[in-house]
Symmetry: C2
């Protein structure tokens, strides 16, 4: 073996043996729906101990969409790598549990509207003054001031307000939305990074901090680099076509492909591939004729052809066949495993895999209150107290589980 290869193998083995980078971090998570839960799932996937505190009815997503036994796929896809504690925050006796949870936490996250957070006693003003090392994160929809402050926020409406819908028009017909909770997800990534940055800062300063993340702010920051490229410079030398126009698919004989010819070389290579190699330069008309050639040939043939000319290309893959795609399989991007409550499931592996963690190796989504006793015992509550909190309904569990 040469030295490089040996080093490479040593690194791989070392990597596999490591615990996640967020090992030793405890997150107490009061969030529901998508942005908060996805953020804390990423932290949990990376080794943090995430305690999800849910109201007696559970996170609203538990019962939303396709499910087994009342546990939805939507919820399970956002709440891996967590423990669940069901807690009625409105009950007077909940206060001691909240205090114990927060005292043991490095990070607290919630996404209640400001008034509700304050009423439940989990806002920064209630939790941070006596805990200088605590990192407190509040996720809000629109902002804490302004005409929309306190209004209910969903991904759809933030997409409308933040320009995502307008960008999906680009001159033709009606605006449309991105048909997934893209801003919730982008917010989640920002929250996960911000929490990790605050933890890093704390190793240097010894201090935590309170962070407010607005979905609207995150959406506008996310839209900007390419989406606002023609609304950035107020007095440009030259205005060119925005890149949004290049985002389109092309039909083949049996499906669709996406390919990219943004550079002169890509255009030349594309024209060679479709038999117009003699052309002196790539005109719009020639590119259209090239697309007509593609429309007569099967997808796989076109993908192979354009790839052989180094033109960026891929087939449009359907949701139902994503797991069968050769490249997706080569990446081991999707894991199929037996979920304790849902039976056989497919889930995407974490986008970045530290220590090669696979979805099936991680703690699967729990039922409401699965870890009430475990967590409260760790926090020092006595059995009798836990029993009292349970019988009085302060601690809640899944209704089916108690039936």
């Amino acid at each position: 073996m040469d030295t490089d290869l040996t080093n490479g193998l040593a690194n791989v083995t070392d990597h596999l043996r490591r615990p996640g980078p967020l090992t030793g971090v405890r997150v107490v998570d009061f969030t529901e729906n998508m942005s908060g839960p996805l953020a804390t799932m990423m932290l949990g996937d990376q080794g943090a101990d995430v305690i999800k505190v849910e109201p007696p009815d559970g996170d609203i997503l538990r019962s939303l969409g396709t499910h087994v036994g009342g546990l939805s796929a939507f919820f399970a896809n956002l709440n891996r790598s967590k423990r669940s504690v069901g807690l009625d925050l409105r009950a007077e006796k909940a206060a001691t549990v909240v205090a114990a949870l927060v005292d043991g936490a490095d990070v607290v996250v919630h996404n209640f509207r400001p008034a509700a957070a304050s009423r439940l006693g989990i806002d920064a003003a209630a939790l941070t003054p006596k805990r200088p090392r605590l990192i407190h994160v509040s996720i809000v929809g629109f902002g804490s001031v302004g005409p929309y402050a306190g209004r209910p926020a969903y991904d759809h409406v933030i997409q409308a307000l933040a320009g995502f819908a307008a960008l999906q028009t680009v001159g033709e017909g009606s605006p449309t939305l991105v048909r997934q909770g893209i801003i919730d997800k982008v917010t989640a990534y920002h929250v996960a990074q911000a929490v990790t940055a605050a933890l890093l800062e704390r190793t240097r300063t010894g201090l935590g901090q309170s962070i407010e993340v607005s979905m609207l702010d995150v959406a506008i920051a996310a839209l900007w680099p390419d989406g606002m490229m023609n609304h950035t410079i107020l007095a440009p030398d030259e205005i060119r076509t925005p890149i949004s126009r290049s985002f389109r698919v092309t039909p083949t004989a049996d499906g669709f492909i996406a390919f990219v010819t943004l550079t002169a070389r890509q255009q030349e290579q594309f024209l060679k591939a479709v038999g117009f190699g003699d052309a002196k330069r790539a005109t719009g008309e020639l590119m259209r004729q090239g697309a007509q050639v593609i429309a007569t040939r099967p997808t796989q043939e076109v993908v192979d052809l354009l790839s052989s000319y180094d033109v960026p290309v891929a087939p449009v893959v359907g949701l139902e066949s994503l797991h069968e795609n050769d490249q997706v399989q080569a990446n081991d991007a999707i894991d199929e495993f037996l979920h304790p409550y849902l039976g056989p499931v497919r889930q995407a592996n974490p986008g970045v895999r530290f220590a090669d963690r696979r979805a099936g190796d991680l703690r699967p989504a729990a039922k409401l209150g699965d870890h009430n006793t475990e967590v409260l015992t760790e926090l020092g509550f006595e059995d009798a107290v836990i029993r009292d909190l349970t019988s009085s309904g302060v601690l809640a569990v899944d209704r089916a589980a108690t039936a």
Copy 2:
């Protein structure tokens, strides 16, 4: 003043005084295009010293799209908070500069295809063996193995392969793409978080690591929670409509709005708002009639009406008027300032604002090689050596700047 308010103010002041959470971290960034540069801009916005190393022609995005003096808005929106060093990595003399840069770095990021990275000597095998504390990140399009490994990747083609295009169909007509580089951006957020997590881990273990991030893996992980909610459970009890169907806009008399009626209460409130408060339950027909009522009224009136019933709603705001929106202004989400090269510009503030950093307060995007001498002097190169590297073209600067 009551105690809560005093604490609140103290926290704000404390927050404003702080340097960014990534202060003290040096990132050497060999990336071009969008995913890598956006990731390192986030780290730079948070206080990291990011040295962007560019080829003699500069990052390909410098000349793409609307511009002033050859510096594009697209580039400027992705390369704030960095210093620029122009370096011809193919030149023999570049090796000492690369070694010095890497020796002084906590993090090295590149997004060359694997073969190119190896040829240029900045792959993990070349850089990490003698530097156990280094965090090395390689961003790849499809993956390092498999049929697409080494093929050129753009956002468009990853959207096609990863199910983003298929999700934009949902049963009607052709698939379409999200009309922005959404996977590049989602990849950037994953990279920024992964780097920050690796830095945090290093404070515990003393060890860096090599991280490979595949855009395809990230895209599939991002799609999954909601986009694949009906392709997660292999034997569901009940199949329900996927949430993707709810992502649509509704016309008003003078524009479009997005509103959400996912819960029974939201449907009831919506029907009350549009004058069907007597209805026993929300049928599809009634909801359609409600939409017809909306179509006859002006946008602002509909937004105020539905908001007063606590129905999530917002107008579809055009890209050209985003900065004028009341809520966007209340959030101070967009900063207008004088860029040294571009003149007056608008840029989004960072999505999460540590220490209240605004776009205009951050280091603006540089011209190619603006910091050649500054950085090499810091690294200990003597003036004569820097002059020699410059005259021999190993160090490169913006052509207009030398003309």
